[in-house]
C-alpha cells in the first residue's frame, strides 16, 4: 500500500492515520494553508504551520489546532511529518511525510517567486511528489512581478489625478497582502475591506513590515479619499464601492486574457498576478524534487500528466476536490 492514498475524505496517510487538506470531517488533519478549498471546518484536530494557525482561527472560528515551525518534525506512529515553505500565501506549506526512509511531499498550492510577504518556497527532495497544476498549461508564464506592481501603481496614479478612486479586487489571504506590500503609498491612502483588514492584522502579527492600511467603515468621509486605493474581496463590497463612486475597478489574477476589454468579473482592468506556479515553475519544482513518481492534482491534471509522461516522467492523475477553476481562491 502506498504511504499516501486518495480516499473519499481526501489524501490519507494510513500509517499515521492523518488526512491532508481533507474535504470531509476527519479526526486529524494536516493543513497546507488557510484557503477555503484546503482548510474546511469540522475536523477534530488541525495540524499546520504555526503562522497558519491564527489564520485558520480567523476563517474557521474556534478549532483545536497545533502549530509546527517550518522544518520542525513531529512523529506519529513512526511517520515523520514536517512543514516546509510553499511560498503561496502567508503560513502556506508543503507537507513532507517520511516513513521507513520513503519520502512523500504534498505541495498544497505553491509558487516559486519570492513575493516579499510570505516565506519563499523551498524545494524538498522526495520519492513521490503530489503537485498542484492550477496553471499547468504552457500559455501561463508570469512576467516579472515588479513590472506588474509598476502597472498597478501607474494605474492608481492616473486614477488619483482624475479624482477617481481605484479599487482592486483581491483574495483576502495572500493577494491582498502582496498588493498592499507593493503599493506606492506616496500616491494616496490604502483603504481595505474589513474582511481584508482583519486578515492583514493577523498576518502583520508575524510579518511586521507589512504596511499599514485604513479599515473601511461606513462613517469614513469618502470625499477625503478621492485618491485612495481600495483593496476588496471579489464581489462582496457593494456598500463600500457605492460610497466611493466614481471608481475604477481592477482584478488581479493569473487568468490571462489580452483581448475583449474585460477580464473576468466586472472589472475594467486586469493585472496578471498569481500566487500559483506558472508552467515553467511547475516544471522546475518537479525537476528539483528529484521525485520518482509525480501525482498531479488541482488544475489541468490530464494534459499536464500527459505532457510529463511525454517527457519520460512517471506521472499520474489524482482527481481531488480542490477547486480548479478561476473562481477558487488563488
Amino acid at each position: 500500500m502506498a504511504l499516501i492514498e486518495l480516499t473519499k475524505h481526501g489524501l490519507y496517510c494510513a500509517q499515521a492515520d492523518v488526512y491532508i487538506d481533507p474535504w470531509k470531517s476527519v479526526p486529524k488533519a494536516l493543513i497546507t494553508h488557510a484557503h477555503s478549498d484546503h482548510a474546511r471546518s469540522g475536523n477534530g484536530l488541525y495540524i499546520a504551520q504555526v503562522h497558519c494557525v491564527p489564520l485558520l482561527n480567523l476563517r474557521l472560528g474556534k478549532i483545536n489546532a497545533q502549530g509546527l515551525k517550518y522544518g520542525e518534525q513531529m512523529t506519529i506512529n513512526g511517520v515523520k511529518i514536517s512543514f516546509h515553505p510553499a511560498g503561496h500565501v502567508p503560513g502556506s506549506s508543503q507537507i513532507r511525510i517520511e516513513y521507513k526512509g520513503e519520502v512523500w511531499v504534498v505541495s498544497g498550492d505553491y509558487k516559486l517567486e519570492d513575493d516579499g510577504v510570505c516565506t519563499p518556497f523551498e524545494s524538498v527532495k522526495c520519492h513521490s511528489f503530489i503537485s498542484e497544476s492550477t496553471f499547468g498549461l504552457p500559455i501561463y508564464q508570469w512576467k516579472d512581478q515588479h513590472e506588474v506592481y509598476a502597472e498597478i501603481n501607474n494605474w492608481w496614479k492616473k486614477n488619483a489625478t482624475d479624482g477617481v478612486v481605484s479599487v482592486i479586487m483581491a483574495y483576502s489571504l495572500g493577494k491582498a497582502q502582496r498588493i498592499l506590500k507593493h503599493l506606492d503609498q506616496g500616491i494616496g491612502k490604502v483603504i481595505v475591506h474589513p474582511v481584508v483588514g482583519v486578515m492583514n492584522e493577523a498576518v502583520r502579527d508575524f510579518t511586521p513590515d507589512l504596511p499599514m492600511d485604513i479599515i473601511w467603515n461606513k462613517d469614513l468621509t469618502a470625499s477625503n479619499y478621492r485618491n485612495a486605493m481600495l483593496i476588496v474581496p471579489p464581489n462582496s463590497a457593494e456598500a463600500m464601492l457605492e460610497m466611493f463612486n466614481p471608481c475604477s475597478i481592477a482584478f488581479a489574477s493569473g487568468w490571462m486574457n489580452f483581448r475583449g476589454g474585460k477580464y473576468q468579473m466586472s472589472s475594467e482592468r486586469g493585472f496578471t498576478l498569481s500566487d500559483h506556479a506558472d508552467w515553467s515553475s511547475l516544471n522546475k519544482a518537479i525537476e528539483a524534487s528529484d521525485a520518482e513518481q509525480i501525482f498531479v492534482t488541482h488544475g489541468f491534471v490530464k494534459p499536464y500528466v500527459k505532457w510529463l509522461r511525454e517527457q519520460g516522467k512517471n506521472a499520474f492523475e489524482l482527481e481531488t476536490l480542490f477547486s480548479s477553476n478561476g473562481s477558487s481562491e488563488e
Binding site: Q141, K143, D162, G163, N245, G260
Partner: protein
C-alpha cells in the same frame, strides 16, 4: 517596442474614449519621434506584408516550448486566438531586452528579403528577448495581419493633446501624412500648406424655444427647417480635396466615399452644411447610420448595405485664403442644386418652410418622428441675405422625458485647459443627500458655460484633481431619450441621449426631482 505593445494591449481592453485617447497621447509623449512616426504609420492602417504563415510560427513555437500539437490544441481551448496562443507558449527568456519600434520594423524589413530558413533562425533569436505582449504584436506583424484598433478621431484627439496643436489642424495634416515616408516633424511643426481654408465653420448654436418667444417674435419674419436626426456635418472642397467635418473638429476621413467623390466635382472653396442620415425604405433610419458608424473599414459593400443621404441645408463660399465665408447667392445655389439633383438620390435639399402662425409650426412639428427629425429650427428671413450672418436660430424639440436635476460636480479639461472638455455631473435628491445620475460633457450654450464657470469659482466645496464638488444649488432641466436599469451605477439607472435643456434660474433645490420620481419614471418605461 515594449511601450508600443503595451499601448496595443491597453487599447484592446479599454473601451472608454477618454482613457483610450489618454493612452495614445501618453504613448506619443513617451517615445522618440522616429518611433512615433512608425507607430503613427501603423495606427493609420499601414500593414507590412506577410513574412511567414501562422502555421509555421505555431510549429516553431511548439518546438521551442517542447510541446506536441495536441498540447497546442489544448491551449487553444482556453480563450485566446491562434496567434496569441502561439505568442503565449513561446518560453520567455531570462530577461527581456528593450528594442525600439524602429529596430523591430527594420528586422521585419530585412527578414522579408531573406531565405525562409534564415528568417526562421532570426525569429528564434528574437522571440525570447520579447515580453509576451511584444510577441503578440511581433507575430501578427510577421504574418502581415497586425492592425491597431483605433479610430481616426481618437488618434487626432490624442495627437492634438500631446502636440498642443488644434485638433482640426492635426486632422488635416494627418490626411496629408504619408505612412513610412513622412516624419513627426511634418505633422507637428508648421508647414507651408495653410490649413485655414480647410477648417470648418463654427457649427450653428441653437437656442431652445421657450414660450416667451412666442409673444416676442412675429412669425412673419421667420421661416423653418426640419432638423434631421443624424450627424451634422460640413463638406469643404479645397485644392482638389474634400474634408468632411463633424462638430468638435471631428474629421470623417475615408468614411463616406460616395459623398467625397461627388464633392470632388464641386468648385473649390465651397462649404456645404447639412446632416448625414442613415437611409432605408422607411426614409431616415438612425439604426442604419449607427451601423455604418460602427464599421471600422468602409468597403463598397458597407456603402451599399448601410446607405446614407446628405440633407443639405446651406451652401457657403469661402473667401480665398481666409477663414471667412458667406452664404452663396441664388444663382450659385441654383447651380449647386442642379448639380446635386443629377446625382442619384444621394442628396436631399432641406427646404425652408413658411408658416403663418406658431400654432401652424407646432402642428407641423408634431409629425417630426415621421420625418425622422429631431424637431424644427426657425431662422430669421430678413437676416438670411447674402453677406449677413444669421444671428440666431431657435430650435424646438420635445424629448420624451425630462427631469430637473442638480449640478454636483464640474470637471475641467485635463489637457492644455481645453474649455470644451468640461464635464458636468448632475444628481438627484435622495433624502438629505445627492446621488449622481448623469454626466454631460458640454453645453450648447457658451453663455451658460461662462455662468457656470463663475459659479464654480465661488461655490467649490472640494477639489480633487480636475473635479470640483460644488454647492448643490443650480437646477437644470435635463432631457433624455430613454432610461435603463444599470446595477453598476450608484443610482442604478442610466440615462441615454442626455441633453441639458436649460438652467432653471428661479428654481431652488426643493423644485428638483427626487429619487422616487426617477424610480416612478423607470417603472413606467
Amino acid at each position: 517596442m515594449k511601450k508600443f505593445a503595451g499601448l496595443y494591449i491597453e487599447l484592446e481592453q479599454e473601451s472608454r474614449y477618454s482613457r483610450r485617447v489618454d493612452a495614445i497621447a501618453d504613448y506619443f509623449h513617451a517615445v522618440s519621434r522616429d518611433d512615433g512616426a512608425i507607430a503613427l504609420s501603423i495606427l493609420l492602417g499601414f500593414k507590412n506584408k506577410s513574412i511567414v504563415k501562422k502555421e509555421v510560427l505555431k510549429q516553431l513555437a511548439c518546438e521551442s516550448a517542447h510541446i506536441q500539437s495536441w498540447m497546442f490544441e489544448e491551449c487553444l481551448t482556453h480563450g485566446n486566438n491562434y496567434l496569441d496562443t502561439v505568442s503565449m507558449i513561446v518560453p520567455s527568456g531570462a530577461s527581456t531586452q528593450h528594442f525600439s519600434l524602429q529596430e523591430s520594423m527594420s528586422w521585419l524589413k530585412t527578414m522579408s528579403a531573406l531565405h525562409p530558413d534564415e528568417s526562421i533562425q532570426r525569429i528564434l533569436i528574437h522571440w525570447p528577448t520579447f515580453s509576451v505582449e511584444e510577441r503578440i504584436v511581433f507575430n501578427q506583424m510577421l504574418c502581415g495581419v497586425f492592425k491597431f484598433n483605433v479610430s481616426f478621431d481618437e488618434l487626432t484627439e490624442a495627437l492634438s493633446r500631446c502636440s498642443r496643436i488644434q485638433k482640426g489642424v492635426v486632422a488635416i495634416r494627418l490626411t496629408q501624412w504619408k505612412p513610412l515616408i513622412s516624419s513627426m516633424d511634418d505633422l507637428l511643426t508648421p508647414i507651408d500648406y495653410s490649413e485655414d481654408g480647410a477648417m470648418p465653420e463654427s457649427f450653428k448654436t441653437r437656442w431652445e424655444w421657450t414660450s416667451e418667444l412666442e409673444g416676442l417674435l412675429n412669425p412673419k419674419n421667420w421661416c423653418a427647417k426640419w432638423l434631421p436626426d443624424g450627424i451634422e456635418v460640413q463638406f469643404i472642397r479645397l485644392n482638389g480635396e474634400v474634408f468632411i467635418w463633424g462638430a468638435n473638429n471631428k474629421l470623417f476621413w475615408n468614411r463616406f466615399p460616395e459623398l467625397e467623390s461627388f464633392f470632388l466635382s464641386v468648385e473649390d472653396n465651397i462649404i456645404v452644411c447639412g446632416t448625414l442620415v442613415g437611409w432605408s425604405n422607411k426614409g431616415v433610419d438612425k439604426v442604419i447610420l449607427q451601423k455604418r458608424e460602427s464599421k471600422k473599414n468602409i468597403t463598397a459593400k458597407t456603402v451599399t448595405d448601410f446607405p446614407v443621404r446628405f440633407i443639405v441645408s446651406e451652401v457657403r463660399r469661402r473667401f480665398a485664403n481666409s477663414k471667412e465665408s458667406e452664404i452663396v447667392n441664388d444663382e450659385m445655389l441654383n447651380r449647386f442644386l442642379h448639380q446635386i439633383n443629377n446625382v442619384d438620390s444621394l442628396f436631399i435639399w432641406n427646404e425652408s418652410i413658411i408658416f403663418k402662425s406658431w400654432e401652424d409650426l407646432f402642428a407641423m412639428q408634431s409629425r417630426k418622428r415621421m420625418r425622422g427629425s429631431l424637431g424644427m429650427e426657425i431662422f430669421s428671413i430678413s437676416t438670411n441675405e447674402i453677406g449677413v450672418e444669421q444671428t440666431k436660430s431657435y430650435f424646438r424639440r420635445n424629448e420624451p422625458y425630462s427631469l430637473n436635476l442638480i449640478l454636483l460636480y464640474v470637471k475641467s479639461g485635463t489637457y492644455n485647459g481645453d474649455k470644451s472638455s468640461e464635464e458636468y455631473t448632475f444628481g438627484i435628491r435622495h433624502e438629505s443627500s445627492f446621488i449622481p445620475i448623469t454626466r454631460v460633457s458640454s453645453f450648447h450654450n457658451d453663455d451658460e458655460r461662462a455662468f457656470i464657470r463663475e459659479f464654480v469659482k465661488v461655490n467649490t466645496l472640494e477639489k480633487f484633481g480636475p473635479v470640483r464638488n460644488v454647492n448643490p444649488e443650480l437646477v437644470f432641466k435635463i432631457s433624455f431619450a430613454s432610461i435603463y436599469l444599470n446595477e453598476r451605477k450608484k443610482s442604478r439607472v442610466e440615462l441615454v441621449n442626455v441633453n441639458v435643456v436649460c438652467r432653471l434660474p428661479h428654481a431652488s433645490i426643493n423644485d428638483a426631482h427626487q429619487m422616487q420620481d426617477l424610480l416612478n419614471l423607470l417603472s413606467k418605461t
